[in-house]
């Protein structure tokens, strides 16, 4: 079992450092901006100036997690679908517009996907295993699976998370390459997982990823097989958090998490936060399934359980 010790999110919701994010959650509209915490509390002002949104969010959420747990992370695993888009675009503009041989390297340095996890290790002076995964809409799930594997291998305090940032350029791809009516948003969620129960109220029971999925029929079969492998069935689910709204019929409660996150491809990380905090507020509920079908040819499934009450 992989107990959720602490979880932090910076999103377009008022979600940072909250007892229960559901106290603040509202379905998003296109007008909702990213709600940035006071980054100065986590990042020196001089450094802050050169950091893009995705780096600010990732570093701050991770540091806020580290503050809440006693041990240093012995594994850091980060997922990002499109990585550091702001700096990537900035450097593309530079190489096409600045003449001469002397270019500023900052945007290039910060354009690499693993700037997020690297910067986290730098800021925390953390020498542990440090990994960056990028698999489109399953970027969070593959990072989470790595974190779970680290716990199986004996790691004690594992940081997993995901971050993505929106840039205006994405609007040009709406309707052709990106089929969504949701607003493009930014978000970062980081969680500390451990094999020990600690102060957690819930644990990740399992996470699985599937590729080349086709019809909704196949998806239902995959979901049922996944639940079966984890000794439960759809009747045992108290809530489904789904990227779309195809599986309303499978559980008594259903929420499309993208109504709350907007569109970024690692938004299912925020669904983990929603699941954990749902169990804080809904004391009778026990089991939540996150169905990440944001992209139609792949599927991520994550099963969250309330901790057993000890007799």
């Amino acid at each position: 079992m992989y107990f959720i010790q602490h979880i932090e999110s910076i999103t377009h919701q008022d979600s940072f450092q909250k007892e229960n994010i559901w106290d603040e959650l509202k379905p998003l509209t296109a007008e909702n901006q990213l709600i940035s915490p006071d980054y100065k509390n986590y990042i020196p002002v001089a450094a802050l100036r050169r950091l893009s949104t995705i780096l600010r969010m990732g570093i701050t959420a991770s540091k806020a997690c580290q503050e809440k747990v006693p041990n240093e992370f012995d594994s850091i695993s980060v997922g990002t679908a499109l990585g550091c888009l702001t700096d990537t675009e900035k450097f593309l503009v530079t190489i096409n517009t600045v003449s001469g041989d002397v270019l500023s390297p900052t945007a290039f340095i910060q354009s690499t996907h693993n700037t997020i996890s690297g910067q986290i290790s730098l800021d925390l002076k953390n020498h542990a295993y440090n990994m960056t995964h990028t698999q489109n809409a399953l970027s969070f799930e593959v990072a989470l699976k790595d974190g779970l594997l680290c716990i199986d291998e004996g790691k004690k305090s594992v940081l997993v998370g995901a971050a993505d940032e929106a840039i205006p350029f994405l609007e040009r791809l709406r309707g052709s390459l990106i089929l969504t009516h949701l607003p493009f948003t930014s978000g970062a969620t980081f969680a500390v997982l451990s094999g020990e129960k600690g102060n957690s109220i819930a644990f990740v029971q399992a996470c699985e990823v599937y590729f080349s999925t086709k019809s909704q029929e196949t998806l239902v079969t995959l979901i049922n097989q996944f639940l079966d492998a984890n000794n439960c069935s759809s009747g045992d689910l108290d809530l489904i958090l789904e990227a779309r709204s195809d599986f309303r019929f499978l559980a008594k409660n259903h929420i499309s998490f993208t109504d709350y996150t907007g569109f970024y491809q690692s938004a299912s990380a925020f669904a983990l936060h929603m699941a954990n905090d749902w169990l804080i507020g809904n004391t009778d509920d026990k089991r939540i399934l996150i169905v990440n079908n944001l992209e139609s040819n792949k599927l991520g499934l994550t099963l969250i359980n309330r901790n057993e009450v000890e007799a």
Binding site: L103, S104, D152, E153, F211
Partner: protein, 391 residues
Amino acid sequence: MRIYVTGYGVISSIGENVEETLLALKSEKTGIKQGRKPYTERFKVGEISWTNQELIERFGLTQNASRTALLGMIAAKEAFGEHELSSEVRTGLISGTSVGGMDVSEIAYKDYLKDESDDLNVYKNHSSGTTSEQIAQELGIRGYINTISTACSSAANSIMLGARMLLSGQLDRVVVGGTDGLSQFTIAGFRSLMIFDEEWCRPFDETRKGINLGEGAAFLVLETEETMRKTGKKPLAVLSGWANASDAYHQTASSPEGYGATLAMKSALKVAGLNPADIDYINAHGTATPNNDLSESHGIKTVFGSSVPPFSSTKSYTGHTLAASGGIEAVFAILALNKGILLPNLNFSQAIEETGLIPVKNYSEGHTIKHILSNSFGFGGNNSSIILSAV
């Protein structure tokens, strides 16, 4: 449980398959030369001469994609070779890449900046994750697919994650490696960092100035013993050790004493259950930047003390192929294990004053080589070491 390598494939500026690669290594022939593209023609690069369209035709590829994906498909197809897909052998693919489809999206983006006449369809190849999905599709792999993007240690980390996925029983077989096509983005980026040598790179040499960039891809097929009983494949090598550690010193520079590198090498030895004295050859990261080679030398000295085994950087052959380098160098290591080869560090003449370490200078065969340590270090202080051993 041991992890076996049962297939390998490689393409780089020194050869478009394993056989050609071995011939080039043997003849001490570098693939680095004056570039041919508008953005490489002023520099010495390890460029593959074919255009994207030529690659598709020459290697019978079924998809039009970015250069990164195409090179990946070529190497992965060679590695997967006669392996067969079967529902009884759960097969995954993990690929490393640093820039994904940047080589094509940067062209579209240039049109966008000019007059917004960019072909939006091109951007579907941009994401790094998509390059891996395209490579998997070319092989028909539909199981677990993942992409590691930790800059220059990406392929080594993919190899490492593949081994861990097999050990945990989540997969029976996994295709692992990395790929990166040259792009104007990376050339300009490394030039902006002032670690770009306009002459031939000279790893571990006192006069080294920086890297030559290259492109390429390499993949290995990893299987457990149990899987080999089903597939009937013969092992080429054992993947015996792996580790990743964070230097946590600077976003692009390595710590002077090579702290992260030392951690990675020591931990990989521990996973393999080996002592430093068991290592017969080190394929160093050796980018030829002043900072990396000094830091890595210190790390090697910390781990191996006064008896540093033969070592070299083969980036003087291929250029620095970034996310692919750990895969390409793993293929070199397997060749070295099976043929008793010590691979030379081309262009070396003068040891780094501070360390006095002298790499292997000439190609030679007939050595007894049981264990090879291969280092890959990336931006963000991401340090990885893997150990390949004779079967």
